[in-house]
């Protein structure tokens, strides 16, 4: 579903991402770990075609994102560290707007509200302006947009950083539900615990290269921390 082939990005000659090869299947949750500047966000931006690769290709559902910038975006949903919404619009209006712009304006009001139910947002909140929303609520709206869009792949850029443990846990279980339904997920995070809990695989990045890939079922949480720190040690 999400595929990187020798994906490389240089900024003014210095490498941000070095020959990344990655294949994420439907239902998989791949967590990218690594220090700031390791190339995690660059990878997400390359999949979004927000930056041009220096070489290599990023593919979504087999389509090169630079060749099909609009079509490949139909299959994905992007949730950044902070989901940005229009503060003068209500939660529902935001959802309706983003969903319509994603090309789906065929939902009834009731169906829209059901997306709020699914992500655990109260219906009263749907009618409120999002200026009053907490960060956790905004992230849930992000998921609701992904659900309404019927995204087949999720690109999550540190989606849980700054969330309290409860909100973070709720967010993870929503991701889990979607991956159970067959959605492929690429998530960057600093949270080893979260990566182990919700990821099916984790990749450790350093200086723009993927230095290790592990299946979360095969390692314990302490193992993951040890391996991660070993790699971070220069």
């Amino acid at each position: 579903m999400l595929e990187a082939i020798d994906l490389t990005k240089h900024y003014n000659g210095s490498p941000a991402l070095n020959g990344l090869n990655l294949l994420i299947q439907p239902g998989e949750v791949f967590c990218l770990l690594g220090a700031n500047g390791a190339g995690k966000t660059t990878t997400i931006n390359l999949f979004l075609n927000f930056v041009e690769p220096t070489s290599g290709t990023a593919r979504i559902k087999g389509l090169d994102v630079t060749q099909h910038p609009l079509e490949t975006k139909k299959y994905i949903a992007y949730i950044p560290e902070q989901v940005m919404l229009y503060r003068n619009l209500s939660g529902l209006e935001n959802l309706e707007y983003f969903t319509a712009l994603a090309g789906r304006s065929d939902y009834t009001r009731e169906q829209m509200l059901q997306f709020f139910d699914q992500v655990g947002l109260a219906r009263e909140a749907a009618a409120q302006r999002v200026g009053t929303y907490s960060k956790g609520m905004r992230q849930k709206v992000g998921i609701a947009i992904a659900l309404a869009k019927k995204a087949e792949a999720l690109l999550l850029d540190e989606p849980t950083s700054g969330l309290d443990p409860k909100a973070s846990n709720e967010f993870s279980s929503l991701i889990k539900k979607m991956s159970d339904a067959g959605v492929a997920t690429l998530m960057t995070t600093h949270d080893l615990f979260r990566a182990k809990e919700s990821g099916t695989r984790v990749g450790i990045m350093k200086h723009g290269s993927l230095v290790a890939t592990l299946a979360t079922t095969e390692i314990g949480h302490t193992d993951l921390e040890r391996i991660y720190l070993e790699h971070m040690h220069d």
Binding site: L48, Y78, L85, Y97, F98, L101
Partner: protein, 469 residues
């Protein structure tokens, strides 16, 4: 898609207190200026109609007297107020609205409100609807549009929109439509109220409104607003931040509405200077005093008449030679007045041309020229009326002199005409020229406005295609 984007933009704007305040202020100013313009129009139209009727009554009511005294008695001709002067008073306050038509001289116009303006505020200029449309609405457009792209980029919502696979051109079209829609809420009601108010004043309902000119004026201002809309969106798409966008757009607004107007009037005056009033009078009087050609011509005519009727004394002629000498003197004057006034008028028109070309830098100059033209308050219309009034003056004089001509008098006698003669002079009728005549003077402005819109559209298309998250 585009409609959805437009609707969201409008919803956001209407919920924004700053937008509501700015729109309310502009809407109130527009309505107030229209109301003031309408009141002035209604008053002046009434006054002019009354005065013109009174002039006719006075003319017809003259006591029996020599026709030449009738010509001296003269009449006032009032320039009819055009309906659209409600919107744009143009040069009327400066060039005057009435002219005294009398024997021997072509007068300058009188009743110039600008000359009578007592306070400095009045001198600064009135707040006409034209000023609101030309200066304030562009400012409102800038305030509505400067953050459309740059603001969303700062908020991070642009990134999310682009991640949805939205076409950038749809985005800018939707935003353009949204701002246009919000603007329409401010302008359309005022426009409709204005048109209806005019229709009511005119007395004969909507049919009496000059439809062609009204539509053209709406078109001209729409064009002007679209230019500002396109430029604002383009700058917003191009700027690194909404602050930069606002500064760039406000700078352009200042050049457009404050600097260029002044700079180009000065440039026009410098390139095509008009003589001072003293200079004008001196040269005019000098030419009028030079009657050598006239005297020779009169001698020639006199000799011809003596020969024709076989007489050698003026008193023996079966026609009144005084009429010929009066008429010839007038015609000697006509050419000189035509030359001197024509010369000054031509300078004004050259100045107007320079001003119109200023539209290359500031679209305001183009739309201002065009607006006055369509309102019938520009210099071209003034000149058109001046010519008609001058022709009427000549008609009066000709009637008087023709009457003297067929009533020969002996030395010491005086011929006296009565009301029959006054009635023979037709009433002064003035028909303002049509809309296409008005447009024909503003080809430069129209072309420049279209060019601005075209380049604005190209720039916004390019800029929105390049928008980066």
């Amino acid at each position: 898609m585009i409609a959805t984007i437009a609707k969201k933009e409008m919803t956001e704007m209407f919920r924004d207190g700053r937008f509501r305040l700015a729109s309310a202020v502009v809407a109130i100013l527009l309505l107030a200026s229209l109301a003031a313009g309408w009141k002035q129009y209604a008053n002046l139209k009434n006054q002019h109609d009354t005065a013109q009727r009174a002039e006719r009554t006075n003319w017809l009511g003259q006591k029996p007297k020599n026709p030449h005294q009738g010509a001296h008695y003269g009449v006032y001709a009032f320039k009819p107020k055009s309906q659209l002067s409600t919107v744009d008073t143009g040069v009327d306050p400066y060039v005057g609205v009435a002219v005294y038509l009398e024997a021997h001289k072509q007068n300058e116009f009188k009743f110039r409100p600008a000359q009578d303006a007592a306070t400095s505020i009045q001198r600064f200029g009135e707040l006409t609807a034209a000023v609101v449309l030309q200066v304030l609405i562009p400012l409102l457009i800038i305030l509505l549009a400067f953050s459309t792209f740059a603001g969303e980029r700062e908020q991070g919502t642009l990134r999310q929109l682009l991640s949805l696979g939205v076409e950038r051109t749809h985005l800018s079209m939707g935003k353009a439509l949204g701002v246009a829609g919000a603007l329409a809420v401010v302008i359309v009601p005022a426009t409709l109220i204005g048109v209806f108010a005019l229709a009511l004043t005119s007395g004969s309902g909507l049919l009496a409104v000059d439809v062609a000119r009204t539509f053209l004026m709406v078109g001209a201002y729409s064009l002007y607003f679209l230019i500002f809309l396109a430029l604002s969106l383009a700058v917003s798409a191009w700027s690194s931040s909404s602050r930069v966008a606002l500064v760039v757009l406000l700078s352009f607004w200042i050049v457009n509405s404050l600097i260029a107007t002044r700079a180009f009037s000065d440039l026009a005056g410098f390139l095509h200077p008009t003589p001072s009033e003293v200079e004008f009078d001196t040269t005019l009087q000098r030419d009028l005093a030079d009657t050598k050609g006239l005297d020779a011509k009169l001698d020639e005519i006199k000799a011809g008449l003596f020969q024709k009727y076989g007489v050698n004394k003026l008193d023996d002629l079966p026609v009144n030679f005084r009429a010929i000498s009066l008429q010839e003197a007038e015609e000697h004057g006509f050419t000189i007045f035509e030359k001197h006034f024509g010369n000054v008028f031509d300078r004004f028109e050259e100045q107007n041309a320079v001003y119109q070309w200023g539209g290359v830098i500031a679209p305001l100059l183009a739309v201002r020229s065009l607006s006055m033209g369509l309102a019938g308050t520009d210099f071209a219309h003034h000149r058109h009326f001046t010519t008609a009034a001058e022709n009427y003056r000549r008609t009066i004089i000709k009637h008087m002199n023709d009457d003297i001509f067929i009533h020969p008098t002996k030395a010491g006698e005086e011929y006296v005409a009565d009301a029959e003669l006054w009635k023979k002079v037709p009433e002064f009728q003035y028909e303002a020229p049509g809309a296409s005549w008005a447009l024909s003077h503003y080809k430069t402005s129209i072309a420049l406005l279209l060019l601005w819109l075209l380049s604005g559209t190209v720039v916004v298309a390019v800029a929105s295609r390049r928008v980066q998250a």
